[in-house]
Symmetry: C2
Subunit: 333 residues, 2 copies
DNA sequence: CTGAAAGCGCTTACAG
DNA sequence: CTGAAAGCGCTTACAG
C-alpha cells in the first residue's frame, strides 16, 4: 500500500535535510547543481507529488479561482466558462466551480465554500435573485478579505468591483436599424427570462424612428397561435429573439408553417454558437463574445491581484459583433 | 486592513486556549454549552472563516473532487456537469474542473494539478486522444495513490475503475427497428466525431433485417448536395443523427428545401435538450441521461471512497430512454 | 552549499 | 470541562 511520498521520506532516503530537498525541488540557486539533480531524480523515482495544501498554508494563497455561474446549460455561460478555464489553465491556476441556478441561496452557499478554500479571486455572473434582491453581503465579505471580484456580463452596481460587459445595447439598436433599412416595418422583440437589458436596445431603436415597440414574452413556450395569426395577417416581418434557443424555436415554427425566412420574416438573435451557424437559413446574430469575456475577466482579475490596476472599479466594455447571415435580408443601400 | 481571523486571535480575545476554541466550533461534546455559545458568538462577530488548507493538511483529504471533461460546449457534457455539481454540492464537496478538449496533453496537465491539490476522487470522460492512444499512466498514477476514479459515458478498458454508461447501443437498435416498423425503408446514419459506439447499434439493427447500412460522415458540415439528391430521388426516408446539433442542422435543411418531417423523412437523434424539444417538429431522441449519469458517478465515487463497494471494478449501466416525439412517424401496429 | 528551527492554521490524542 | 503539545507537509529566514 503506497502512501504519497513526502519531503521527509525523500530526505531520509537521500540523507539530506528537508530544507535542502525543498530548495532543490524549487530550483533554488543556493543548492549545488549536483544535489539538485540527485534530488530530482529521486523525487521522480519515488513519484513525489508536492502537497499543495501544505504549500498554500505557508503561502497564504491557493492557486485557485472561484467561478460562480448561473448554469452550464445555457451556451453563453458554457462558452464563457471555456474562456475562463483556458485562461486560468494557461496561468497554472485551478477553477473551482459553483452553479447558482439563479438562486441567491445557492450562490451564497457556493461563495461560502469558496472563501473557506482561500480562493485568490472570484469571477461571477450573479444570479437574478441576487441582482433583484440587492443582497450582496456574501460578496462584500470578499472585498473585506481582499479577495478581488470580477463580474462577467451581468453587473452588480451595489458593489465596487471590476466588471466585464459588452456594448450589446448599442449593437441591438444598430441591428434593429439595419433590419429597418432592409425593409422590415414590424419588428417584435421575443423576450425570455434573460435579456432585460437587451430590450432596451430594441426599444431605443424603435423609439428613434417613432415606431411602437412590441414585446412578446416567452417562457419555455411562446404564444404560437398569436404568432401564427400575425404571420398570416402579415403584421410582422422581423423578430429579434433574446436567445439563440428562442430563435431556433421560432424559426422552425415559421418554416414548418410554410413561411420563408427572411423573405416573410427576418430573424436575428443573440449569441453565436455553431448551431445557429449551421441552421438553414444561417442565423444572423449578435455575438456577445462569451469566451473573450471569460478571457478578459481572468486577465482583469490577475491585473487586480498583481496591483496593476488603479484603485476604484474598472469596467471593460467589449465590442459585441453583429454577424449578418441569411436569416435577415441584406440592407438596401 | 482586515486580515482573516484565525483561531489564535479568537483565543486571545476570549482568553481561552486554541484547542477549546477549535473544539467549540466543531461542536465537540467535551465543551460546555456556555463556552460553545460564547465562542460561536465571538466567531460570528469576528467574521471567522475556517481555513480549509490547514484543516485538510491535518485530515489528509481536501473535500474536493476533480472533474475532467472534454468540453463544456457540448450540451451532453454541460448537462453531465450540472448533475455532478449538484450532487457534489449536496454533499458539501467542491468541484475542481479541467477541460481536455479531447487532448491527451491537456488531460495530463489537468490531472497533474488535481493530484497536487489532493483531490479525494476523480470523475472523468476521457479525451478521444487518451482512449485511442491507450496512454493511461496519468490515470493509473491515481490508482496507486488510492484516489478512486469513475469514468462517465466513455469507458477506459485498460484501467480498473468504476464506470457509468448507458444502454445506448441497445436503444439505438430498438429505435431503428421502430422506425422500420413505422414504414421507413432507407435509414441512414449521420455520423460525427462522436458516436462511434452509436454506429454499432444502427448497424446491428439493419443487419438483423438484412438491410445495407449507409453511413454519412459529418464534420461541422455535411454533404448537402448528396443529401438533397437522395431527398429528391426518395432514396432516403429516415435519419439517425449522432447528435442533436447534427439533427437540427439536417432538419432545418430538409424543411428549408420544402420537404416534410416526418412525412418525407423521419429524424431521430441523441441527447435530450430543450432545444430539440421546442423545435418544430419536436425532435424524437434517445435521451442519454447526462444528469443522471453525473449524479450516479458522484454516488459511485462516494460509495467507493467509503468502502461500500466490493473490490474490483463496477459498471453501472443506466437505461437510456427513447423519446418519441413528432420528428418520427408513429409505429404502425 | 547545507541544515536546524520556526511557523502557516488547524485538529486531536493526552493530561489535568 | 479546559489546555499544552505534537504534528499535518511544506517554505524560508537564519546560522554555519
Amino acid at each position: 500500500m503506497q502512501r504519497k511520498t513526502t519531503l521527509k521520506e525523500l530526505s531520509k532516503s537521500l540523507n539530506l535535510s528537508i530544507s535542502t530537498i525543498s530548495k532543490a525541488l524549487n530550483n533554488s540557486p543556493e543548492i549545488s547543481k549536483a544535489t539538485v539533480e540527485k534530488v530530482k531524480r529521486s523525487a521522480a523515482l519515488h513519484n513525489y507529488i508536492p502537497n499543495f495544501a501544505a504549500r498554500n498554508l505557508k503561502a497564504g494563497n491557493s492557486g485557485t479561482i472561484g467561478i460562480v455561474l448561473p448554469t452550464m446549460s445555457n451556451p453563453f455561460f458554457s462558452s464563457a466558462f471555456e474562456g475562463i478555464e483556458a485562461a486560468l489553465m494557461k496561468r497554472g491556476y485551478k477553477s473551482l466551480v459553483f452553479l447558482s441556478h439563479e438562486s441567491l441561496d445557492l450562490e451564497r452557499t457556493g461563495i461560502q465554500k469558496l472563501v473557506e478554500t482561500q480562493i485568490d479571486g472570484l469571477i461571477i455572473s450573479p444570479a437574478h435573485e441576487t441582482i433583484n434582491s440587492k443582497s450582496i453581503q456574501h460578496l462584500t465579505q470578499l472585498k473585506s478579505l481582499h479577495i478581488p471580484i470580477v463580474t462577467l456580463d451581468r453587473t452588480l452596481h451595489e458593489i465596487a468591483c471590476d466588471s466585464i460587459t459588452t456594448d450589446e445595447e448599442l449593437k441591438a439598436e444598430i441591428a434593429i436599424s439595419n433590419m429597418q433599412k432592409s425593409g422590415c416595418k414590424n419588428i417584435i422583440f421575443l423576450s425570455g427570462t434573460i435579456g432585460a437589458t437587451r430590450k432596451t436596445g430594441y426599444k431605443q431603436a424603435l423609439k428613434s424612428v417613432g415606431q411602437v415597440t412590441r414585446i412578446m414574452e416567452y417562457h419555455s413556450d411562446f404564444p404560437k397561435d398569436e404568432l401564427l395569426e400575425m404571420l398570416l395577417a402579415k403584421s410582422i416581418d422581423g423578430i429579434m429573439a433574446c436567445s439563440e434557443h428562442c430563435a431556433i424555436q421560432v424559426m422552425s415554427f415559421i418554416l414548418q408553417n410554410g413561411f420563408s425566412i427572411p423573405q416573410d420574416v427576418s430573424v436575428i438573435s443573440y449569441h453565436n454558437s455553431s448551431i445557429g451557424q449551421s441552421f438553414w437559413p444561417a442565423l444572423s446574430t449578435i455575438d456577445l463574445k462569451p469566451e473573450e469575456q471569460g478571457n478578459l475577466a481572468v486577465q482583469t482579475l490577475f491585473d487586480r491581484i498583481n496591483g496593476l490596476l488603479p484603485s476604484g472599479k474598472i469596467n471593460y466594455q467589449l465590442d459585441s459583433e453583429i454577424i449578418q447571415r441569411s436569416s435577415t435580408k441584406p440592407i438596401r443601400s
